[in-house]
Symmetry: C2
Subunit: 195 residues, 2 copies
Amino acid sequence: MCSEPKPLRPSRWSQQRTEQIADCRVFEVRRHDLRRDRDGKEGSFYVIHAGDWVNVVGTTTNDEILLVRQYRYGIGDFTWEVPGGVIERGEDSVAAGERELQEETGFIGSGARKIGVCRPNPAIFNNTCHFVSIDKIREDHPTDWDEHEEIETKLVPVDEVLAMLRQGAFSHAMTQAALLHFFIDRDQVGSPAPR
Amino acid sequence: MCSEPKPLRPSRWSQQRTEQIADCRVFEVRRHDLRRDRDGKEGSFYVIHAGDWVNVVGTTTNDEILLVRQYRYGIGDFTWEVPGGVIERGEDSVAAGERELQEETGFIGSGARKIGVCRPNPAIFNNTCHFVSIDKIREDHPTDWDEHEEIETKLVPVDEVLAMLRQGAFSHAMTQAALLHFFIDRDQVGSPAPR
């Protein structure tokens, strides 16, 4: 069938101007006026500027994963997630994962390391989300919640977390991605399941 | 160690007022003034209202996945992703997946079905992203790009897509989640890899 020719590669765009549209505390909305390098075509696009995020898959020596449940204002409902939060300016992402785990749940562990990364939405967000694995976690510190936080915690065996994932129990895209990287890290993605 | 008592369950919040902060074409930012049901504590939170999204994992009869590459304004760089877009008001999510696949890539297929769903960010977004699988895809129609779209397409064998995923080639969280649901649907998550 006849189809219009596709460009070999999409073009890059260069920023001409940028203007703040709204300051929303945990993010800022800016309008970017861009020009396409190939042909000078102009367009304005809204971009949400936010700090980088970190999500933590913490496991106990019994191969349980620590889950948190909280009320989420965006959807107006409760979610089960892995712990996480905003990385402070200049803070290392792995250190931020350890801090968020401790603040939200009171758990600490060892062997914290990066297992993956994503861009939450490259079309409209400028930020990055880091995924951190922490081993041998155990309840140790008191929690240190932000003003509006109330966080329920639960330790769930890895196999049950996988069953919950299959059943759609984790709605948050960052938690789905965190668990994807966790199972990739354990070499448990892509092989055929036992019959 | 002494720890403050945790509430058995986090509390729900009720909306008192809402106000539009910014209209950004593909999304709207609103401030929600909420009150916590348990104790009447008040707080204001910014929520991004957006239409629902759909992402499509399309496979050929040769077990290849169709990938798209485009310039993304949020991060100011190119990304490899699975095709996707915004579901129109009242449109069925599976039908939207078929439409987006055809418009972005010119491919059509059969057996389109839902394989998963996520909330892109329950903390600050109100919307849902649907994941759709389409089989036996083939190039058929001309593309029908939006005004600023330029989309490169590539068919990649499923095993290579998995290798790309492991290597971090897919930054977009929605693409990572789409592939997670695709591999869950194929029963390829959670089993030990062959040694």
